[in-house]
């Protein structure tokens, strides 16, 4: 019979994670500097080392900054048409000292419109993504937490929603809710619900079979507690990644729906998609009117996509182990 406590493990156990090599040993020493880093903190740290994530973050930060600071940095108020008397049916003045990016066909300052447009895109993107996120998480949670008919019902609902082309759904919603930005928000948000729901459910089903969930159940925790404090938090990773990617789509879809004329409001309303729509009539006269908002849409979407993809990479469970 041994009575001695096992001698403490060697100062640092040979790195447990799989090969290759001593890399792990060296790394764990480094990581010990960051005592108590949660999974999310670690992901953040990994992203900070990823140039792609930094590019994405810089674009997104610039976009958010411009959107938030629009009232202070835009040369002219939203919807103003300071140059309206300079416009002729066959002449749209280009850049000048007064209007650095020129005017549009209504006599609005294009630079101001782009800045205010960032604000509109941000609001539409964030609110619709949150709508999709909450709706999807609620539905996915329902399906993921209860198996059986609740799950079946929720998933058939999701299938039904997925079967409808998103643009069509969006147009129908706009037709019912009327032409304004809130219909666009609802339309984009609702379309995302099934995607989030499915993602969360899948992720939860995967987590539900992990040993730590069994362990939690063995501790005598109720099903609800296990779901809410273990399964759900661990299942949110892919959902958060998706949300970031949806922000990119939302910016594009908002533009698309505005482009199709679902936006409502004044024609001078500063919204990138609408600026594009307006620009097609003057494509020959003033191509910059189409190019500038188009660039803004693409760059912003790219920023969110880069950020989302690098977040996905940083949260990847395969990366988790190797760190």
């Amino acid at each position: 019979m041994t009575s001695t406590l096992p001698a403490a493990e060697p100062p640092s156990e040979p790195g447990a994670p799989p090969e290759p090599g001593g890399a792990d040993g060296a790394r764990s020493a480094k990581d010990s500097q960051h005592d108590g880093a949660s999974l999310w903190q670690q992901a953040l740290r990994r992203m900070r080392r990823n140039p792609i994530a930094i590019v994405g973050a810089v674009i997104v930060a610039a976009f958010v900054l411009v959107a938030v600071l629009a009232p202070w940095i835009a040369p002219y108020p939203a919807q103003a048409t300071p140059g309206r008397d300079l416009i002729r049916p066959t002449l749209i003045p280009g850049p000048s000292a007064e209007f650095p990016l020129g005017l549009d066909r209504f006599g609005s300052d294009v630079l101001s419109q782009l800045i205010w447009g960032a604000r509109a895109s941000l609001i539409i993107g964030v609110v619709s993504t949150l709508l999709g996120l909450f709706g999807g998480v609620a539905l996915g949670l329902l399906a993921g937490a209860f198996s059986g008919w609740v799950d079946t019902l929720a998933m058939r609902l999701v299938d039904l929603m997925l079967a409808i082309p998103s643009l069509l759904l969006a147009v129908s919603i706009a037709a019912i809710a009327g032409q304004n930005n809130s219909s666009i928000i609802i339309a984009i948000g609702v379309v995302q619900i099934p995607i989030f729901a499915r993602l969360l459910r899948g992720s939860m089903l995967q987590q539900r079979n992990q040993d730590y969930v069994l362990a939690a159940r063995s501790l005598g925790l109720t099903r609800g507690t296990v779901t809410m404090s273990h399964v759900l938090p661990n299942s949110l990773g892919p959902v958060i990644v998706q949300a970031t990617l949806v922000l990119a789509t939302a910016v594009i879809e908002a533009a698309a729906l505005s482009f199709l004329g679902l936006g409502g409001g004044r024609p001078t309303e500063a919204e990138w998609g609408r600026m594009l729509t307006g620009a097609q009539a003057e494509l020959a006269l003033a191509p910059q009117l189409a190019i500038l908002p188009g660039l803004c849409i693409s760059i912003t979407a790219l920023g969110f996509t880069l950020l989302g993809e690098s977040l996905r990479e940083a949260l990847d469970p395969r990366m988790r182990r190797r760190r």
Binding site: T81, R84, D85, I87, R88, P89, T90, L91, I92, R105, F106, G107, V171, Q179, F259, L260, G261, G264, G265, R266, P267, T268, T277, G278, Q280, A281, E282, L283, A284, L285
Partner: protein
């Protein structure tokens, strides 16, 4: 012409995504010439004139339609008793060499051109004339509704079956003389007969192909065989084929009684999107198109294309619905009239050559009144009028303002820009604007013509023929949802003037009506925008203010 239904905004946008259908244009030009035109010297060579249509014709039988695209095609195949003086809206002899009107205005005697035959060989004579008049008057069922035989209903006032019409009978004392008897005077009849809706059609063909038998229901009428594939008239071109959504093809009528012209074949490819039409022209797929956007005019002109302007025979106005209490106050309406800088608006948003409107009729129309109240641009005056009406900075006037999206009308090429100018002017004097953008058809028209709560709106009209009633009668001769007022005095003035048989008397009466209207100010006339067409270099096009453009008069370039 009646405001015609356009593609819904969505469909228009959808068309953007698809590529232009122009590229699908069939090119069976035997010369192999890519532009579809021959050498232009005739001599048995085929000369094709390709003109982009923005939509399919509703029917090939113009008696059952009222839209521009149908009439554009019909004008090539059909002729009426009356035409127009080239380049004007005024009536001129066509199938009728001359006419006489009795003093009481109830009997019209037409002397017909002789030796004319329909495309099917049927002889054109007084009996054929009477056959056509009787046909229009005896429409029943779906055919006798506003959505199909619109013009007969509007001009005549009714059908035989309801007894509301002014037409009584037609007799043919000899082959070349047709006499029309009316129950009550209809002085605009001669001018109205220049409409394609009143074209002469072959009685044989009408009977053979069951032309009056409209089936289906009001939402989806099913047209008879005649209207779908056997139009038979006396015009310079004969129907060849119609592939809905793609194109309509006509060929020259070898037995045409008038001037044959250079063009031997006419193709109307259907291109609903205006950008696609421009691109089709630039690609050489078409020879010309209508409703050129003001912004495209300069670019096309610089690139060597021919820009043809029609004389403006239209009106663009700002409607004010008096069913809305604030707008029932004349001071508010006057304030709005003084607030809008129409000169600047025209300069900034409408095609060159466009005039600011003072009347609801263009100046070329008989009955136009130079001395109406004009409401000069005067923001200070507007503000004081608003203050009088009780609206101040603390209690601002807020108005709903509807405008159509993604549409271009001859009288309103850029609605958004016009809206934005007007709205900005109104805001300048302290009126708050709540924008209501709607797709043109059906939403916008439904809201303006079918609801009572709309405030301000933009709309207009293109005249069909030279007649004041054709403009103001449509708007102001009876109560309507668009305007929301009931002013019996105005109604009376207009309706009385309409039936005055003496042209001079009638002109004075219409002038009086126009003056009364502008004082009452149901809306603000804005402008008479000049519609533009664009053509391949070297083409000479017989532009007409009422679009009476027949392609035997088109001159193709020498090549």
């Amino acid at each position: 012409m009646r405001r015609t239904a356009q593609w819904a905004a969505l469909a228009a946008a959808g068309a953007l995504i698809l590529t232009s259908c122009a590229s699908q244009r069939e090119n069976d030009d035997p010369t192999g010439d890519g532009t579809g035109t021959g050498d232009g010297t005739g001599g048995g060579e085929e000369v094709t004139f390709t003109f982009a249509a923005s939509a399919d014709p509703v029917a090939l039988d113009p008696a059952l339609a009222n839209d521009g695209e149908t009439f554009r095609v019909a004008r090539q195949m059909f002729e009426g008793l009356v035409g127009t003086v080239p380049g004007t809206p005024d009536p001129a002899p066509l199938l009728a060499e001359s006419w006489e009107v009795s003093d009481d205005g109830l009997e019209y005697t037409f002397q017909l051109v002789e030796g004319v035959t329909f495309h099917d060989g049927t002889e054109f004579n007084a009996e054929a004339v009477c056959f056509n008049f009787e046909r229009w008057n005896n429409f029943t069922g779906l055919a006798a509704t506003e959505s199909l035989s619109y013009y007969w209903l509007k001009v005549n006032g009714g059908y035989a079956e309801d007894g509301n019409g002014k037409y009584e009978s037609c007799e043919a004392p000899d082959a070349a003389t047709a006499v029309i008897h009316l129950a009550s005077p209809l002085p605009e009849l001669v001018a109205a007969l220049s409409l394609p809706a009143f074209s002469m059609q072959s009685p044989t063909a009408l009977q053979e192909y069951d032309a009056d038998n409209v089936q289906g229901n009001a939402e989806a009428p099913v047209l008879p065989e005649y209207a779908l594939g056997h139009p038979t008239g006396t015009g310079p071109f004969v129907f060849d084929s119609w592939s809905p959504g793609e194109q309509v093809v006509l060929t020259a009528n070898p037995d045409y009684w008038g001037e044959q012209g250079q063009v031997t074949r006419v193709v109307f490819p259907i291109i609903s999107d205006s950008t696609a039409r421009r691109q089709a022209l630039e690609a050489g797929d078409i020879d010309g198109y209508d409703l050129v956007g003001p912004a495209d005019v300069v670019a096309l002109e610089e690139a060597g294309y021919e820009i043809v302007n029609r004389d403006a025979f239209n009106i663009l106005y700002l409607g004010m619905n008096q069913a809305v209490p604030e707008l029932a106050d004349i001071r508010v309406r006057q304030a709005i009239a003084h607030a809008v800088d129409r000169e600047a608006l025209v300069a900034a948003t409408l095609p060159e050559g466009t005039e600011v409107a003072t009347n609801f009729v263009p100046s070329s129309v008989v009955g136009y009144n130079e001395d109406v109240q004009t409401y000069e641009y005067d923001p200070a005056e507007a503000q004081s009028l608003l203050a009088e009406a009780g609206f101040t900075e603390d209690n601002p006037l807020t108005l709903d303002f509807s405008y159509p999206t993604n549409v271009s009308r001859p009288y309103m090429p850029t609605p958004e820009q016009v809206f934005e100018r007007v709205a900005a002017d109104l805001e300048e004097v302290g009126i708050m604007v709540e924008a209501t953008p709607l797709p043109w058809s059906p939403d916008y028209l439904d809201r303006i013509q079918g609801t009572t709560d709309h405030g301000l709106h933009l709309l207009g009209w293109t005249g069909d023929y030279n007649d004041t009633y054709n403009f103001i009668g449509v708007f102001f001769a009876q109560p309507g949802m668009e305007w929301g007022f009931d002013n019996p005095e105005i109604f009376q003035l207009i309706n009385d003037a309409r039936v005055l048989p003496d042209l001079e008397e009638q002109t004075t009466a219409y002038e009086e009506a126009n003056a009364a209207l502008l004082e009452f100010l149901p809306g603000l006339p804005i402008a008479h925008p000049v519609p533009s067409l664009a053509f391949r270099e070297g083409i000479v096009y017989p532009a007409s203010p009422v679009q009476d453009e027949v392609y035997n008069m088109v001159e193709m370039p020498e090549e």
